[in-house]
């Protein structure tokens, strides 16, 4: 199980990253070089459906999205805790299971609170 990790193990990932980045850069450079360029006030308008532009594109939105985002961050980090636990599941045995039960118990209390409070209600 104990495989020694070395830096050159990441060569495929590096190659993939270079290819992905290179593709994007080449295509963007190509479109800028080859494509026609017409710039005037009408072309640069955010909306081109005949109605005059009103206000800013970045208007404040509802706080409900924000609350969901916050709760996502918390549960995201919680799930990351489960990964090293799952890898070591056999070695940790029953003790590890109870450890995780205690951890998840408190998280579920939090989840119940969130639901009872109506924080996830979308009406």
């Amino acid at each position: 199980m104990n495989t020694t990790a070395h830096l050159w193990d990441y060569l495929p990932i590096l190659i993939m990253a270079i290819v992905a980045l290179g593709f994007v850069i080449t295509v963007m450079a190509l479109t800028h070089a080859v494509g026609p360029r017409r710039k005037n006030a009408v072309k640069d308008d955010p909306f081109e459906c005949g109605i005059p532009v009103q206000g800013n594109a970045r208007t404040p939105f509802s706080i409900k999205y924000f609350l969901v985002a916050i709760l996502f961050v918390l549960f995201d980090v919680e799930v990351i805790f489960m990964y090293p636990w799952a890898v070591n599941f056999r070695e940790l045995g029953v003790f590890g299971l109870w450890e995780m039960f205690a951890f998840m118990g408190l998280m579920i209390i939090g989840l119940v609170y969130i639901i009872r409070r109506g924080a996830l209600k979308w009406e």
Partner: protein, 105 residues
């Protein structure tokens, strides 16, 4: 001590210190609470980098577990901190700290 060929612990320590002091500079320099908060994140990451370098230096996984817990604390801190900033903005209409000086002595 060479952590990876050609790079010593000192290199990583100095890099971590530079990032940490950049965070301090940002907190003193910016007047917006959100940006100051981002600088706090930068400082946390600087200390994380030093901890990982030490963990590599001693061959001790404990340092990386510390980093893991720091990330957890950062996530919890961001959740509550941004909710407070949000409330502050709703009540006061700004997050500029030079405007929010009611508790200034």
């Amino acid at each position: 001590m060479e952590l990876i060929p050609g790079v010593t612990t000192e290199h990583y320590l100095v890099l971590s210190l530079i990032l940490f002091c950049l965070g301090i500079f940002g907190i003193l320099y910016r007047r917006n609470a959100i940006l100051m908060f981002m600088c706090v994140e930068l400082m946390l990451n600087a200390s994380n980098l030093a901890l990982v370098a030490f963990s590599r230096m001693w061959g001790d996984t404990g340092g990386q577990v510390f980093v893991f817990f720091i990330m957890v604390v950062a996530a919890a801190e961001v959740a509550v901190g941004l909710a407070i900033l949000m409330l502050l903005y709703r009540n006061m209409g700004t997050t500029q700290t030079d405007v929010l000086n009611k508790m200034k002595w």
